[in-house]
């Protein structure tokens, strides 16, 4: 089974992110941050993985469907943008207890590695996750080099 996200295992679990966010607020980072960086965990969350053939981007955009997510690539920067409507229209009779789900316009960018064949890129939506497959260019795929006996 390779529905296993734990291979994305770098650093601390997401459950501790609020601690990090709190710490970031209290002690802002002194070092330079990427100019396009947003706080971790902004909507939609993004995972990027790499295989020998392709780079795969997973955009966790619950509530959106294929037509509603705008995916664009410029140089090596992938931008996903769109708009998420509130789940239910506001009515006078409603009492809200929690409002944690973000809604409204969003736009996020991630920098991808060099050497991707944008022409052959594909994207599909499933259960609120958009999977974007960006194949590597032929010349950049790993190659086996035969060692010849002399």
């Amino acid at each position: 089974m390779f529905g296993d996200l734990r291979r994305f295992d770098i650093g601390r679990p997401q459950g501790l992110d609020w601690v990090r966010q709190l710490m970031d607020e209290v002690f802002p980072e002194g070092g330079p941050a990427d100019i396009r960086s947003v706080p971790r965990g902004s909507f939609p969350m993004i995972n990027v993985g790499r295989t020998d053939e392709a780079v795969r981007v997973y955009v966790f955009a619950a509530g959106l469907s294929a037509g509603e997510l705008d995916v664009s690539l410029q140089d090596n920067v992938l931008t996903v943008a769109g708009r998420r409507e509130p789940a239910a229209e506001e009515k006078a009779q409603q009492t809200h207890f929690r409002r944690e789900r973000p809604h409204g316009e969003f736009s996020r960018s991630v920098a991808l590695p060099d050497g991707l064949d944008i022409e052959r890129a594909e994207a599909r939506f499933r259960n609120g996750v958009c999977e974007i497959v960006l194949p590597k260019r032929e010349e950049l795929k790993p190659r086996r080099i035969e060692v010849q006996a002399s």
Binding site: F2, G3, D4, L5, R6, R7, F8, D9, I10, G11, P13, Q14, G15, R40, G41, P44, M45, I46, N47, V48, G49, R50, T51, D52, E53, V55, R56, Y58, F60, A61, A62, G63, L64, S65, A87, A88, K91, Q93, Q94, T95, H96, F97, R98, R99, E100, R101, P102, V110, P113, F125, R126, N127, G128, V129, E131
Partner: protein, 129 residues
Amino acid sequence: MNDITKHEAPREPAEREPRLETLLPPVDIFEEDNALHVIADMPGVSREGLHIEVDNNVLSLEGEVQLEMPEGMRALYAEVRAQRFARRFTLSQEIDADAIEARIDNGVLHLVLPKKEVHRRRRIEVQTT
């Protein structure tokens, strides 16, 4: 004092072992038409991977994130680092647990928790004397 350090030291690696990391789905909860509505973001969770349970007035929502991932994939960047969503809420007595409805659409779970008939909001007529 010595006792405490003795207990703490061997426990640490053991605690780290069962790495059942879960994500906390963001929720909207509101009350409308004599029912509570719970809306939770669980991207990547299908109907089959969803598990909703009411036990002893505790509502638990659990969902397994199912993604197609080819073998040999390595992470370049990851914000979602678990493959399970889980969240629990305590319900009050007024909720009719047998009448809870759930549906999931594009990774958004919508739960309707109706109130029992006796607990519904009633309008009280103010009579003029």
